[in-house]
């Protein structure tokens, strides 16, 4: 008696001949689709990082800007262009990528800006930009700007000595430090949605540093009103210190007795200190500070002690261990 052995595979499970014959093409097509999907995803992501960003539109000119060659010791070093200075910015309130501030700060409204002065001083209160500039001559200072990330620029800032404004505030004997705070505008600053830094951005200077003639309140660039991505309407420039000391869009100035904890020090105390003086002999824990890349150049430059301002500022630090107080 013959027992019919059941077929191992039911006929319904057998792949149709046509499909079987075209399986290679099928796999290839599926592969191509998957590859294309991955490709498009990564390419568009890449494009978010690398796409042309427009430099700041040219705005209102400051009248009667007076060049100050005594404090512009960068003779022979080429100034960075308007485009470079307004498309390559570290301004985390408008995004962590260098090109984000140019785009995301475009509609930042600074009309009616007030700087609130408080703390150890006689003249507390709110000052408009006009109040701050009253009776002042806006100077052009061409300063080297050295970022802690080891890139640098040469920038023609327009501003007034911070010392002039401090004197008007009449600080008391208790005022040992000045603490400055960037605006924290959750509606207009998309970057503060992320907790990448402990907002608002805080910076500070010792009183003698703040009073130093090189320290300026900046309101302009290349003779024009300061573009938003560079810290409009008013920011700090302290050229012998790393860029992160140059607090932008200043909304509060406080005279304090104790050394304020600046934002980057709070973020990573092992990597960023209060002083942040440019110093080629004290490296960042993760990279060398001995050299820097000037934006627009291929070969690096040697970083200069106090960013080339040693003659003017080293006297303030004779009793300070610069390795400890980096």
């Amino acid at each position: 008696m013959l027992i019919k052995k059941p077929a191992d595979i039911r006929s319904s499970e057998i792949t149709p001949k046509k499909l079987y014959q075209t399986r290679r093409q099928f796999i290839q097509a599926a592969g191509a689709v998957a590859g294309a999907a991955v490709g498009i995803e990564v390419l568009t992501r890449g494009a978010a990082v690398l796409h042309a960003v427009q430099p700041a539109a040219h705005g209102k000119k400051w009248p009667n800007v007076k060049p100050n060659p005594t404090f512009s010791n960068t003779n022979g070093e080429v100034k960075n262009s308007w485009e470079q200075i307004t498309t390559y910015n570290n301004y985390y309130e408008f995004g962590v990528d260098k090109d984000q501030p140019a785009e995301l700060s475009r509609n930042f409204k600074t009309d009616g800006w007030m700087v609130e002065v408080s703390g150890e001083c006689a003249k507390k209160g709110k000052f408009s930009i006009d109040d701050i500039l009253k009776g002042e001559t806006i100077e052009e200072r061409v300063y080297r700007h050295r970022c802690v990330e080891a890139w640098s620029m040469v920038i023609p800032w327009n501003g007034i000595p911070l010392a002039n404004f401090i004197k008007r505030c009449e600080p008391t004997g208790k005022a040992k430090y000045i603490k400055m705070t960037t605006a924290l505008d959750r509606k207009q600053m998309p970057g503060v949605q992320s907790d990448v830094l402990d907002w608002p951005y805080v910076e500070g200077l010792r009183m003698d540093e703040a009073m130093h003639p090189l320290t300026i309140l900046v309101v302009g660039l290349y003779g024009e009103m300061l573009p938003n991505q560079d810290g409009a309407p008013i920011r700090l420039a302290v050229p012998w210190k790393y860029g992160f000391k140059h607090v932008k869009s200043i909304q509060k100035i406080e005279f304090v007795e104790k050394e304020p904890v600046n934002t980057w020090q709070r973020q990573a105390p092992r990597e960023y200190g209060f002083y942040a003086n440019v110093n080629p002999n004290v490296n960042h824990p993760r990279w060398s500070q001995a050299t820097e890349r000037r934006i627009g150049e291929f070969f690096m430059r040697k970083t200069l002690m106090f960013n080339g301002y040693a003659d003017q500022v080293q006297g303030m630090y004779t009793n300070l261990d610069l390795k400890k107080y980096f």
Partner: protein, 210 residues
């Protein structure tokens, strides 16, 4: 590569194009490593066999971008960072100084050490990527060696993580992708090592029943 060239040509690089090139070649190395690691689990899930040929190609692309990234470091960071060039820019002296400064840098800066390790681990994989080498080594040995790619991907992510200043969201994304892809391997390994009761094909069951 084409994309970088295109971006450079149309002025889409930032004011610091040298740093863009370094960053992009690095990120593309990671992307290709992720694609390489994706193919085996993808075959398990969908049955699509893109492993032969395509996986090798993706792995070699990762190595290619890793090489570009490392060369970028040597040229833009080490060579351009020498500042002065006694004996000329293209000379034995300069070459020696580049080697010395690179060794010092790789030894001193942890994120460079890690990145360099990730790259070095890819070298034997690229060399033994041919059919001839698979034959010579034998499939098992070859597969064991090529598991170094797991280490390379992990080190690559750590390298990225350690170099960023504050915003770790992008390294986190890559860490998550690599974790999922390596996790998938662990999952399948675990599944395989258990008695395969559920894995008897339905047709085989049907035939024993009848």
């Amino acid at each position: 590569m084409v994309y970088l060239g295109w971006a450079a040509y149309y002025g889409h690089l930032s004011a610091n194009p040298l740093s863009d090139i370094t960053n992009e070649t690095g990120v593309w190395t990671l992307r290709f490593l992720c694609i390489t690691l994706l193919l085996t689990p993808l075959r398990r899930v969908t049955g699509l066999n893109l492993v032969s040929g395509f996986r090798r190609m993706m792995g070699l692309y990762a190595f290619f971008y890793g090489t570009l990234h490392f060369s970028t470091y040597l040229i833009l960071d080490r060579f351009a960072g020498l500042v002065d060039y006694p004996g000329g820019m293209i000379s034995i002296t300069t070459a020696k100084r580049i080697v010395a400064s690179s060794i010092g840098d790789i030894a001193m800066r942890p994120f460079i050490t890690i990145g360099f390790s990730a790259f070095v681990l890819m070298v034997p994989l690229a060399i033994t990527s041919t059919k001839g080498w698979i034959r010579r080594m034998g499939g098992k040995k070859w597969a064991a060696l090529h598991r170094l790619v797991y280490a390379s991907a992990i080190l690559g992510v750590v390298h990225y993580w350690w170099l960023v200043k504050a915003d770790i969201s992008r390294p986190q994304t890559y860490a998550a992708i690599v974790a999922v892809l390596l996790g998938a391997r662990l999952y399948y390994k675990f599944k395989k090592s258990r008695p395969a009761t559920a894995r008897v094909p339905a047709s085989a069951k049907a035939s024993t029943d009848s």
